[in-house]
């Protein structure tokens, strides 16, 4: 499990520039697997770039199917992130600031979707929000709302899988933030809510932003829960990863183009977060 709380939370002291280096050769037993590991991570990406149909790329990108999937992906990932922010930041605050019995268990529960296979998440969502699910049947009979196999369902599936990233990141930021600022706010007459909105949130804004970006990236790449819970309907629930999977069976070049787009988005996110947690000491 990524230990986001320590990486996102506080500014890291600058790593010493010059580490004392030990003289002598690097053991081959370490060097060889290290280089192999690096190649293993890089080669597939290089292959993607090598096989890309660069000549027809512009027109491929503007094909209606690609744009539809991209637009849907961006929309659902953004909505899922907003949902995660609305629910996850208060949850992180609760975990970081309030002592309550069973807090450790709650924290463990929050991280379950991180380790759960997304397909299982999708099945679980179906059982609860499906038309005959625990909540789904009630939603259907009372409001006439059905969630599975809709765009809203995509948002739910993505939020389910991505929210732990946000909660862990924001909780880490909250723990790293000096809670004495909140005490100072209280001595100036601020109640807990005002303190949260006027002091705590601005203090942990960088942590929330980082958590939000992570959450958005995870939502954008979500596949398993989405296809299980929301299906694969072009224009409605077919997001980029689903489109890639579908294209792979019929049109390899199209799959490559779609993959390139997702790769570009990932690299952009890396660049955004570069200073936060890529430059680990």
């Amino acid at each position: 499990m990524p230990r986001l709380d320590t990486t996102v939370a506080r500014p890291r002291p600058a790593a010493p520039r010059q580490r004392p280096r030990r003289a002598g050769r690097i053991p081959l037993a370490l060097l060889l697997p290290a280089v192999l590991g690096l190649l293993f991570l890089i080669l597939p990406l290089a292959g993607l770039l090598a096989r890309a149909p660069w000549a027809t790329l512009p027109q491929r990108l503007t094909e209606p199917g690609v744009l539809t999937a991209l637009r849907l992906s961006l929309l659902t990932a953004t909505l899922a992130t907003l949902l995660c922010l609305a629910l996850g930041v208060p949850l992180a605050w609760l975990l970081a600031r309030i002592e309550f019995p069973g807090r450790r268990i709650v924290r463990a529960l929050v991280t379950v979707p991180l380790v759960l296979p997304p397909v299982v998440g999708g099945v679980a969502l179906l059982l609860v929000f499906g038309r005959r699910g625990l909540l789904g049947s009630w939603l259907d009979s009372t409001f006439g709302v059905t969630l599975p196999f809709t765009t809203t369902g995509v948002v739910l599936a993505e939020a389910f899988v991505a929210m732990p990233f946000l909660v862990i990141a924001v909780e880490g930021a909250l723990r790293g933030a000096d809670s004495r600022y909140e005490e100072a706010a209280a001595t100036l007459g601020a109640n807990r809510w005002t303190t949260f909105t006027h002091v705590t949130l601005p203090l942990v804004a960088p942590g929330i932003a980082a958590g939000g970006v992570l959450c958005w990236a995870r939502a954008l790449g979500e596949f398993g829960a989405t296809i299980t819970f929301a299906g694969n309907f072009p224009g409605r629930t077919q997001t980029m990863p689903l489109a890639v999977y579908l294209a792979l069976e019929t049109d390899l070049e199209a799959a490559i183009v779609l993959s390139l787009v997702l790769l570009a988005v990932s690299v952009a996110i890396l660049a955004t977060l570069r200073d936060r947690w890529i430059s680990a000491p």
Binding site: D178, A185, A186, T187, L188, A190, L203, A205
Partner: protein, 369 residues
């Protein structure tokens, strides 16, 4: 200042102390038990070594920590009384705090930091900023009002923190080591300014510090605590003249011993005898300044009756002089000039004779334990 923020008592209450508290806080093996009263306009310094309970007292007064027992009444309002299950939360107490490292909100300008309190007390944005601007002006910081805390010097940040605490017109102002974070020169300036602002503050002020100079300069009255208990209380003159514990004696720079007096002779608990100037009978303290201790290479002849052989255990610079720590029948500190030190060839471990004239000692009755 508008009336709605003023929480000072009306005329009939002025005779009563503004703050009337008995702070009892149990924290495992540590127990704070501190009776404390402060009048309007009075500045009381709470002085003590690390771990004495100063911060605990401050947090209890601010409501950041609940009392275990006792009571806390401010301006006629009960703020904490565990016996009656009364506890007013921090944000509803008319208390202002200047924290040790100021805790200015890093995302707000100096002006908005100071306006934060008035805004929470019901002023609209414009009024709150006006009030903040007035306070910054009073602190001589008008031209820095747009700056973020990280762009302020230590002394400026300290004054912004003071302005922020005072801008809500607190009945009780709490200062936690307000000068500790400053370098020596800034501290001198800031201390003088702080003294002016504290004198102008109509409410009660409690200054928590471990620096005796801050306490002596800024406070009307000193309360000294050790291990959560008051060990001495009084004005600066009394405390500097007649310390009652080793800690206080060190604070005010005196050698202090406790013993039984019979006339001019004081028998210390370890059997050592000191001859004092004044006649006393019973338990007494004997105090004399390090400058009263003379060092001789040989046993001195003549007048001083208090002479004893001692060994030098340490030498430190102390202002223009050297402070020499002596071990022997009694532990004693002596101040000598560098010239005298050179002539004596002082070095740690060296044996010398110490002498104190009886006329330089002060003797006063010890309170019975």
């Amino acid at each position: 200042m508008t009336a709605d923020l003023t929480v000072h008592p009306s005329a009939p209450q002025v005779l009563e102390p503004l703050l009337d508290a008995h702070l009892v806080v149990d924290r495992g093996s540590f127990r704070l038990d501190l009776p404390l009263t402060i009048s309007s306009g009075e500045v009381v310094a709470l002085l003590g070594p690390n771990g004495a309970g100063k911060s605990t007292a401050l947090r209890a007064l601010a409501g950041l920590l609940g009392l275990s027992a006792g009571h806390l009444t401010l301006a006629g309002h009960e703020l904490d009384r565990p016996g009656s299950r009364i506890r007013v939360p921090t944000e509803q107490r008319p208390v202002g705090v200047v924290f040790q490292d100021y805790l200015l909100f890093p995302h707000l300008s100096a002006l908005d930091n100071v306006a934060f309190g008035p805004r929470r007390h019901g002023l609209d944005r414009r009024q709150a900023r006006q009030r903040a601007a007035d306070w910054l002006d009073r602190m001589g910081l008008a031209e820095h009002s747009r700056r973020k805390p990280r762009q302020l010097s230590g002394g400026q940040a300290q004054r912004v923190a003071l302005a922020r605490a005072l801008a809500v017109a607190p009945a009780l102002l709490l200062l936690d080591e307000p000068l500790a974070a400053l370098d020596a020169r800034t501290r001198l300036d800031t201390r003088a300014q702080l003294q002016r602002h504290l004198a102008a503050h109509p409410g009660a002020t409690l200054l928590v510090t471990h620096d005796p100079l801050d306490a002596l300069v800024l406070a009307d009255r000193l309360v000294i605590i050790e291990h959560g208990q008051v060990v001495q209380e009084g004005d600066a003159a009394t405390i500097t003249a007649q310390p009652r514990t080793d800690y206080v004696a060190r604070l005010v720079g005196l050698n202090l011993y406790r013993g039984r007096a019979t006339g001019q002779t004081v028998l210390l608990s370890d059997g050592f005898r000191l001859t004092a100037a004044e006649q006393h009978d019973g338990d007494v303290f004997v105090a004399f300044p390090p400058s009263a201790v003379a060092l001789h290479p040989e046993r001195p002849d003549g007048s001083p009756r208090n002479t004893w052989p001692a060994a030098i255990s340490g030498i430190q610079p102390n202002g223009d002089n050297l402070r020499v720590q002596l071990s022997g029948p009694i532990e004693v500190a002596a101040d000598i000039t560098p010239l005298a030190a050179a002539q004596l060839h002082l070095a740690p471990g060296q044996r010398v004779w110490a002498a104190v004239k009886a006329t330089e000692t002060r003797t006063y009755p010890a309170a019975p334990d």
